[in-house]
Point group: C2
Chain length 335, copies 2
């Protein structure tokens, strides 16, 4: 069953206090700001100072709750859809719940809403929305809060200028519930090609490499990517992937009012647009002033599309991206 | 909707090559093996040498596939349900897929099955089985492989004898599909009380504490638990939790042929048995010769219950546990 009567009720976003311009980054890295403009095109991104992933996620969630005129008491499940957890144990969703209970006005006893994480790297938001929509459809949960919050700046390889001028930190949140109108998820698809698992990776941070290896092997604890190989893999996979997404439901790209892509890089999005024949005005781009905010990137671009009134209720939109794994993921929804 | 026509088709298990006895651990820690026997009761556990979490998970998965007379080509989604990822990026499920493609006999082109992680710490298996069952029920996926694989030994606090004599490494896997008989998930429930988020934690390993903090703060990179406070919280929450699980479906504990608990510790399971009035022969205990294998603990105990013929098709069983978060989770199923 592809169709799910699930509605995105409201969204929220949080950007760290510290804004970092291309000029500032150029000074730090001793490179030209024009190189950054030309190569990554990210002129502004935000890096955390004292913010944690769960704190950013909770602020984004609070914004979504306020927009929907809801409180935490109206939510019956919290999903954290990050690429990287805040800490090894417990899951980040429990830490988001903890922050939210402090942020929200007191509601008597804290509600023990289930809280767990879903991780498909940069596609975590699509994977979470896709998966949890079936639980909304079945009536298991009435209203779910999905939070994506990532901090790329902590594991940046500062010697790789292509990669470190691309990323930013931040969070976005969405509240979903059963739709009582035409708003719905119309199709969704996820494919993982693990032959590309090493094309984008951070080897540390899990149970394979202990932090005590850091002095001898600092490269294991930073994000490493093979940009060219990823482009090649994406180019090869995406056209067929989009066809497999659209075919069962009879859509074509021209049926999409707006495409909300993972903001991998401006270059990757240009490639995407050209290859999939997406009109320029139908592609939501926020990478130039947000950077690639990892798993927060897709919900953040969705939030911006809603805020800037580039999508309206009733519009058919496509969420689309690739992620480390290597995975491709997409969802067609009527907003 | 509580009832889902979902069947656990087969299970598998992997224990690391290196067996560690209470005597060996006593020698290493310079404590008495009798203290370990009395305090943790774990006489045997296994620690990885060269095994990774994805490798262990793939071997357990292969065992489940063989038992079900299936191959990877019969699976259309892979979920990794660990407490801790193998590495920060990508998700562990992609790495399990990669291993499985090498282990399984060649099947032509690798199948790009979606692969992502679900994390509810020690309750990850219940959370994954619970969540994905709705996608099986709805026909989104036909057959899902759920793998839980954790390596506790890498982040053990060797100065905390109570904690470090408890844990073991290992993996377990289960294959689920739409049921064509009475096998089903009858009820499930998950509650997170984030006021207890700090009772069991490992602060490092995520985007909050960089490994470069390790020399100055080694305690941030080991698992810390407040055993007594966790017991108190579990004691307070569990009776009401089980009531909230059973009430909507009209069950009592005496309807359960077998209870498969998270193997937190032998002491915790004695408490559970007493408090919830579970007959001794109805509680599946494997902690004494496996240790607490974190998220792998519940599916591993389920696998052992099946292998030892303590549960048969048609039996009503209860999976039950608590996890860092603090969370309680449970599921009633007809096996």
């Amino acid at each position: 069953m592809q169709h799910r009567s699930v509605k995105i009720v409201a969204t929220g976003k949080y950007l760290p206090k510290q804004k970092v311009t291309a000029q500032q980054l150029a000074d730090k890295l001793d490179i030209s700001p024009h190189w950054i403009a030309r190569k990554s095109g990210v002129m502004t991104r935000y890096f955390v100072t004292d913010e944690t992933a769960s704190y950013m996620g909770a602020i984004a969630a609070q914004q979504a709750l306020t927009a929907a005129q809801l409180t935490l008491a109206d939510i019956d499940c919290i999903i954290c859809a990050n690429a990287v957890a805040q800490q090894a144990i417990p899951c980040t969703a429990a830490l988001v719940q903890q922050h939210l209970q402090h942020l929200q006005p007191p509601l008597g006893l804290p509600v023990p809403i289930p809280a767990f994480d879903i991780n498909a790297t940069c596609l975590s938001f699509i994977a979470a929305l896709d998966t949890l929509s079936y639980l909304i459809q079945a009536g298991r949960y009435h209203r779910i809060l999905i939070v994506s919050s990532d901090i790329a700046s902590i594991a940046m390889d500062w010697s790789n200028h292509e990669s470190c001028t691309l990323f930013g930190d931040g969070a976005a949140a969405a509240i979903i519930e059963k739709s009582s109108d035409t708003a719905a998820i119309l199709a969704s698809r996820l494919e993982t090609y693990s032959s590309g698992a090493a094309l984008a990776q951070c080897l540390g941070g899990g149970n394979k490499h202990h932090p005590q290896e850091h002095p001898a092997h600092p490269e294991r604890f930073v994000f490493q990517m093979q940009g060219q190989a990823i482009y090649r893999m994406a180019t090869k996979i995406l056209p067929g992937f989009v066809q497999r997404l659209f075919e069962p439901v009879g859509f074509t790209m021209s049926d999409m009012k707006m495409v909300i892509p993972h903001q991998a890089s401006l270059m990757a999005m240009r490639l995407l647009r050209k290859q999939l024949h997406i009109p320029e005005q139908a592609l939501m781009v926020i990478a130039h002033d947000h950077g690639n905010t990892v798993a927060a990137s897709i919900p953040m671009a969705l939030h911006e599309a809603i805020q800037q009134r580039r999508i309206q209720r009733g519009d058919r939109i496509l969420l689309l991206g690739t992620a480390a794994g290597f995975s491709a993921g997409a969802m067609v929804l009527e907003y």
